[in-house]
Each structure stands twice: as C-alpha cells, then as structure tokens.
C-alpha cells in the first residue's frame, strides 16, 4: 500500500508535468518552423525586388513571442521543481513533528492518538501543520503580491522603481545580510499564505489515514502545498493545462504539490 501510494504521487506529478513539457517543445518547434517558413516566403516572392533587408528582423519579431513564452514557461516549471524540493523538506518536518508530538499526552488528546483532522482545537494538529507551513514559507507568495495576483493586477501598472522597492522589502540584494526585522516582516507576510494553503495528513503503518497510532510504529506525513503560479503569462497558461483556481473561474492558478515522509514514532 505504501509503495503504491508513493508511486502514485510521483506519477501524478509526472502526468502534470509531461503535457507542459511537450507543449513547450511544440511551441519551440512551431516558432522555429513558422519563422523559417514566413521568412522563406518573403524572401522568395514578395520582397525579392526589394532585397532581403529586414528579413532577419521579421524572423526575430515573429519568433520573439513564442520564445518569450517558452522562457517564461521554463521559469515557471523550474520554480515548481524548486518548490517540490521545499515541499519534500516540509514533509520531513511534518513527519519529524508528528513523530515527537503523537506520543505526547496533551489536553483532549491521549498519547499515541490525535484528534480528527478537522478539529480546530487540536494542539497536535496545529503543531504538525505549523511545522509544514513554516517550511513552505520560502515558496509562498507574499500576502501583498498574492492579493495583487488575485485581483489580476497588470504587471505594467507597477513602475520599475515601485517593483524594485517591493522586491527590496523582502529579498536581500546581493551581498546584503537580512536584518531580523526584515526577516520577521517577510516571514509574517509569507506565512499567511503558507498557513492557509499547506495541509498535512497522517498515515499509519498500513498506509491508511488514522487518528490512533500504536506505539513505536512508523508514521507517514503527507504534505500538500498549493503552489502559487505567479510567472506572468506562463502561470495562467500552465494553470489552464493542469492547475486549479483558488475559486471557481476567479483568481490566479495554483498547482498542488505533495510529498510524503515516514519516520519512526518516539516512545510515549
């Protein structure tokens, strides 16, 4: 059951990625072919008396949109692969947290058991989820930028200076150390998203979701993070292929990235 479960996760991811990869390759081939074809036509028929001045500019102009889109799609895909690594780490953190928190005895939760996942008062769930969402902070958008994306703000509405100011708010410039204050603000800004859109589920030794875990057995934590696809053009484009929207027909797209990790539970 375990093996099938994990294998399914990976295939799921591949199934999501493969159409996009094939699409990108198709775009590249189409852009090259169409540019070649059009410039050849121009060279042969229409513009022959005028010489071939400008044909390369035409090629360039025709190929550029396809090229840009394929670059943006590549960036978006790379960011997703990047996020997969972070979600893997989040799964480790959640499993580590579950391994030490499940055997604890806390109010309303006995040792080696946990409240149902929808219990909002559960300390164990809040601890385990917090471990996962803390780890997913680096791949979460800032609340401000996410809200902007949600309102479909055009990127052109922001001037270069404003963009740089926004970027400087969170990201360190080369060679710059992060001040604790900035780190705190940045963390809080990103944590809203991470806490909202990172979920954890726990599985027992038999691979089934459960609320009671026998002592000294392995526990598997599966983290699912809704990765915000924020690259212009590429995000919505890929989102239409294999992503989801936060609400029906509204807002930007996300793709659900998930990963599992298994650790031996501590002793109660």
């Amino acid at each position: 059951m375990d093996v099938a479960h994990y294998t399914f996760l990976r295939i799921e991811f591949l199934r999501a990625i493969l159409p996009a990869a094939l699409g990108c390759a198709g775009f590249a081939v189409m852009s090259l072919a169409s540019g070649r074809f059009l410039s050849a036509c121009a060279r042969r028929r229409l513009l022959r008396p005028l010489g071939d001045h400008g044909s390369s500019e035409l090629e360039f102009a025709l190929a550029l949109p396809w090229f840009l889109v394929s670059v943006l799609v590549t960036i978006q895909m790379t960011l997703m692969v990047n996020a997969m690594l972070v979600v893997d780490y989040a799964a480790f953190c959640a499993a580590r947290s579950a391994a030490v928190w499940l055997p604890q005895t806390v109010p309303n939760e006995a040792a080696n058991s946990i409240a149902p996942p929808d219990d909002t008062d559960s300390e164990k769930w809040s601890r385990i989820r917090r471990a996962a969402s803390l780890s997913c902070i680096p791949i979460s958008p800032r609340l401000s930028s996410f809200a902007g994306g949600f309102l479909q703000l055009p990127a052109a509405a922001i001037t270069a200076e404003q963009f740089q100011a926004l970027a400087a708010l969170g990201d360190p410039m080369p060679g710059q150390t992060i001040s604790p204050l900035r780190l705190g603000i940045d963390t809080l800004d990103k944590w809203f998203y991470s806490a909202l859109f990172t979920d954890v589920s726990l599985y027992g030794q038999d691979g089934m979701p459960r609320t009671d875990f026998p002592g000294d057995t392995p526990v598997t934590a599966r983290v699912a993070h809704k990765f915000y696809m924020n690259v212009p053009f590429a995000g919505p484009l890929m989102g239409r292929v294999f992503g989801y929207r936060y609400f029906w027909l509204i807002g930007p797209y996300y793709v659900e990235l998930s990963s599992s990790y298994t650790l031996q539970m501590a002793h109660s």
């Binding site: 390369s56 500019e57 360039f60 090229f67 670059v71 590549t74 960036i75 790379t78 960011l79 692969v81 990047n82 690594l85 972070v86 893997d88 780490y89 480790f92 953190c93 580590r96 947290s97 391994a99 030490v100 928190w101 055997p103 604890q104 601890r127 917090r130 471990a131 803390l134 780890s135 902070i137 680096p138 969170g170 360190p172 410039m173 080369p174 060679g175 710059q176 992060i178 780190l183 940045d186 963390t187 990103k190 501590a266 002793h267």
Partner: protein, 522 residues
C-alpha cells in the same frame, strides 16, 4: 588627405556593421542561457539547502540520542549497583541467620537423638536419619564458618556494597559529561561542526551536584527494598537457592524459637501479634535481632478466586502464588501491599453436618531486614527502623536537591542538543538565500525514561526523542533570567524593586516564550 580617407573608411565600417545582422539570435541565446543557468543554480541551491537542513536535523537527533544514552546507561548501572547492594545485604542476613541457627538446629537434633531410643518401632531408622541430618548440618556449618570473613562486620560483602555506592556516585557525576563529549563527537560525524548537549539540569548546574538527577540515599532505602517485595528480582528469598534456605530455616528456627533458645525475634502477624518473645522492640531489647524472622499465617476465605469451589471431595492442592493482601483476607503486615512467596493450600473437609466445605489456607513467610549490622551493636530504638550509619552502603536514588516529585524528575531527565555548522550550503550566497537562511543551527530534545518502573532499582532506562519542551517552558532560559540569577545575583539591579523587576521579566519572558513556541517546529 589622410583624415578624409579615414572618414570614408569609418563610414564604410559603420555601414558594414549595420548591414551585418548576425548575432541577434545569439545575443538572445546568451541572455536566455544566463537565465537558465540562474534557474539551474536556484534549483541546485534549494536542493542543497533542504538536504542540508535535513542533514543538520539528523545530526542534532543523533547527537541528543547518543548523549542522552550515556545518561540512561549511567542510570542502568546505578540500578544494577543498587539491586546488587540489596542482594549483598540479603546475603549477609541469611548467612548470619544460618550462623546463629545451625548450632541451635544441631542442638535440637542432638536432644531428639536419644529420644529415638524410646520408640518401640523404627528406633534405628529414626537414629540413622537424625544422625545423617546432624552430619549434614555440621557440614553446612563448617562451610558457613569458613565464609565468616564475608558476612562479619565490615566484611567483604559489606565493603563490596559500600564500594558499589561509591561507583554509583562516580557514574552520577561523570556519565553526563561523557554524554556531552559523545554528543559533540556524533554531531561532527554527522556533518556539524559543534554539537552541544544540554541536560535539563545544566542551567542550574552546581559543581558539587551531579548532572544526573539522582541523590545519595540511606541504607534504610536498601532495607526498604528488602522489606517490601517490590519485584521478584529484588526479593532476597527469591534468589534461587535462598528459597531453599528460607524453607529450611523455617523448620529449624521455629523449633529453636519454641525451645526459647534462639537469638531471633519471631512473631505471628495475625493470630498472635506479640509472638512468643513479645514484640519486635521487646525482642530487640532483650539482645536479639541478628535478623527478624517473620512467620505469618493467614486463613483465607473460601471465596478465594485462585481455587474454584468445585474442587472434588477430598482433593488437596497446593500452589505457590503471589497474592496481594486485602482487607477481606488479612491485613498485610508492616504496611505491605503485596506479600511475596505466599503458598496456598485447599482441601475439602467434611463438616459436622455431613457436607463438604472447601478450606483454604494461605501461608506467607518472608524475611524482614531490621538490623543488619549484627548483635555487637546496640539495638535501635523501637520504631526507628534500620540504623543510619555513614559507614554503610548507600544507594543512589532518583531526584536531586529535594526535587523528588515524579513530574520534576521526568523534567530533569530531558536533554537538548544544539548542532551548529559553520559553512553554508549555497551555490551563490546572497543571490538565492531563502528567507530561512542556510540552517546553520538545528536542535533536538531527547528524554530518558524507564519502560518498566520509575526507580533506580530497575535497569530498563532507555532514550527516546521528545518534543522540544525545554525551549518553551523556560528551562533553557532559567539560568539567564534576571529574577533567578544573573544580574540580580551580580547586584546590578538591586535598586529596582523586585515586583517591578518580576513584572518586566515576566512580560519579556512571555513574549520570548511565545515567539519560541511559534517558531519551534518540533
């Protein structure tokens, strides 16, 4: 002329440059290649960072587990030492009792020997049996006499028991330090530069106290173990052949006591609480008291569940059981809650009205250590229990500096390890730093627990990972708090009223605690 030529050449060169459209795509290709390289670096960077984080967490886990294992190891050795001390004391008691009882038993048999001649039938057999028994007991007596340097005052057994106490003390002081060194070694093996093990008692560490949460007990704690059969392992008469010795003494000592010649205090718990020689205190006052031999009979009720009432008529059965005393059978002697070595027999007896009734008889016998040092020393006052003597073996028991509550001891048995790695796992530091940095520091907490019984007489101490409660409940910060030490002890803040100071420290302590609790991910 030369200038005109050069102008023409320059103009031609410019035209040629403009006409040359090579390199447009290659410029784009270079830009995109640079972008892809950056993306590749980003992914490699994140991969390194996350695997580095997991590596560091594993280093901290391994570090704290290996460090705390030395504490568990120390407690296990202390437990074995304590149990060995109990068994050595039991051995002293039994050997001394034998030394006292054997001459009496031989004397009893020698008195009985001429009585065989009075028998009308089987006088020869009787004399032969008794003569054989006398020879046997003489042989045993010779062996016991030869062993006198073992059980005499300050004999080998007594000195060995004392030595075990000293060994336990050494372990209590040294093993946590070995654990700290081991934690550092394991952390470096696992990729960190430094691994620091912080036992829960470290913030309030005093040089004259051990880091293991144990304290030196009294000899009476060992006697309590002799007295109360806590587990079969520790009950002296459960030690293999001593069971036989016990049953043999039961016969001979009882005879000796009845003939009022034994230097042994004897009593029955229920039927005759005072016993033939009076109470224990009176007996001791008379000079008795090498050991206290208790021989108690209990008449159990027919409803005793071990034997169902449907035993066939006339059947008899006897079985050795360990049975908890309860009020409806018989009160436990000396406040015991469990009697060890209880034998129960049952039989169906015919009643005067012709019916049969099951009769169950429970028989409990045990040793009680009262006065191990021997008859050469004055007896203790009544009710004072065993003598306290600095020249006695001491066990090492759980709890330190009066912190004897189980919950407090469990808190003291925690350890936390902090692993630190100087180098950062980055391809291009400064460009792709994630908000959580390079994870140079990781931490983990472990707990020493006993899977069987929470005492230092059971060597089943183990280690498990734990949630990092030391970080949240202020254990780590205790040593740094203004109110408890640090600045106040250094007389820096004398002029600040204590109440204001405590309010300030409480306020900031609450904030720090809340932040730590929020950011603590395990």
């Amino acid at each position: 002329m030369r200038g005109g030529l050069s102008r023409v050449t320059a103009a031609r060169a410019r035209r040629g440059l403009h006409a040359d459209d090579g390199g447009q795509i290659s410029a784009l290709a270079v830009l995109s290649a640079a972008a892809f390289a950056c993306l590749l670096l980003l992914v490699i960077n994140t991969g390194w960072a996350t695997s580095g984080k997991i590596e560091m967490q594993n280093a901290a886990d391994a570090s704290v587990l290996s460090g705390a294992t030395w504490m568990a190891r120390g407690l296990n050795i202390i437990s074995v030492n304590n149990v060995t001390q109990v068994q050595l004391l039991a051995l002293i008691i039994v050997l001394r009792a034998l030394d006292d009882a054997l001459p009496l038993a031989i004397l009893t048999l020698e008195i009985e020997l001429p009585a065989c001649a009075l028998l009308l039938w089987g006088a020869g057999v009787c004399a032969a049996i008794i003569t054989k028994q006398i020879a046997l007991l003489n042989g045993v007596k010779n062996v016991i006499d030869g062993l006198s340097n073992l059980y005499e005052d300050n004999g080998l057994l007594w000195r060995t028991a004392k030595l075990l106490g000293t060994w336990s003390k050494f372990i209590a002081y040294s093993f946590p330090l070995i654990g700290m060194a081991e934690a550092h070694r394991i952390a470096t093996v696992d990729g960190a530069d430094v691994g620091l093990l912080i036992p829960a008692r470290l913030p309030s560490f005093q040089i004259d106290k051990p880091l293991l949460p144990v304290h030196e007990g009294k000899v009476s704690d060992l006697c309590a173990r002799l007295d109360g059969p806590v587990s079969d392992l520790e009950t002296p008469f459960q030690i293999g052949s001593l069971l036989f010795v016990n049953s043999g003494l039961n016969l001979y000592l009882h005879l000796a006591v009845l003939s009022n010649k034994a230097n042994i205090c004897e009593g029955t718990a229920k039927s005759d609480p005072q016993g033939p020689l009076g109470s224990v205190a009176e007996c001791l006052a008379k000079g008795g008291g090498t050991a206290y031999w208790q021989h108690a009979y209990y008449d159990t009720k027919p409803s005793f569940s071990m034997f169902p009432p449907d035993v066939p008529d006339g059947a008899e059965r006897s079985e050795k059981v360990s049975y908890p005393c309860s009020a409806d059978i018989a009160p436990c002697p000396f406040g015991l809650t469990k009697c060890g070595g209880m034998s129960v027999s049952s039989s169906n007896q015919q009643q005067p009205d012709g019916t049969y009734k099951n009769v169950y008889v429970g028989h409990v016998s045990r040793w009680q250590f009262v006065y191990a040092l021997g008859k050469d020393q004055p007896p203790p006052p009544a009710g004072s229990g065993p003598t306290e003597n600095d020249d006695s073996p001491h066990p090492w028991l759980l709890g330190a500096e009066g912190r004897l509550e189980t919950e407090q001891i469990q808190k003291d048995l925690r350890s936390m390890a902090v692993a630190y790695r100087r180098r950062e796992m980055h391809v291009a530091p400064g460009y792709f730093v994630t908000p959580w940095g390079a994870h140079k520091i990781s931490y983990a907490q472990a707990r020493v627990y006993n899977g069987t019984a929470f005492d230092t007489f059971t060597s089943d101490w183990r280690v498990t990972l734990d949630r990092t409660s030391m970080l949240e409940d202020g254990t780590l910060l205790d040593g740094l708090r203004f109110g408890q030490g640090g600045l106040q002890q250094a007389k820096v803040l004398d002029k600040v009223p204590d109440t204001a100071m405590s309010k300030i420290t409480d306020f900031f302590g609450a904030i720090v605690g809340r932040v730590l609790e929020t950011l603590n991910n395990h």
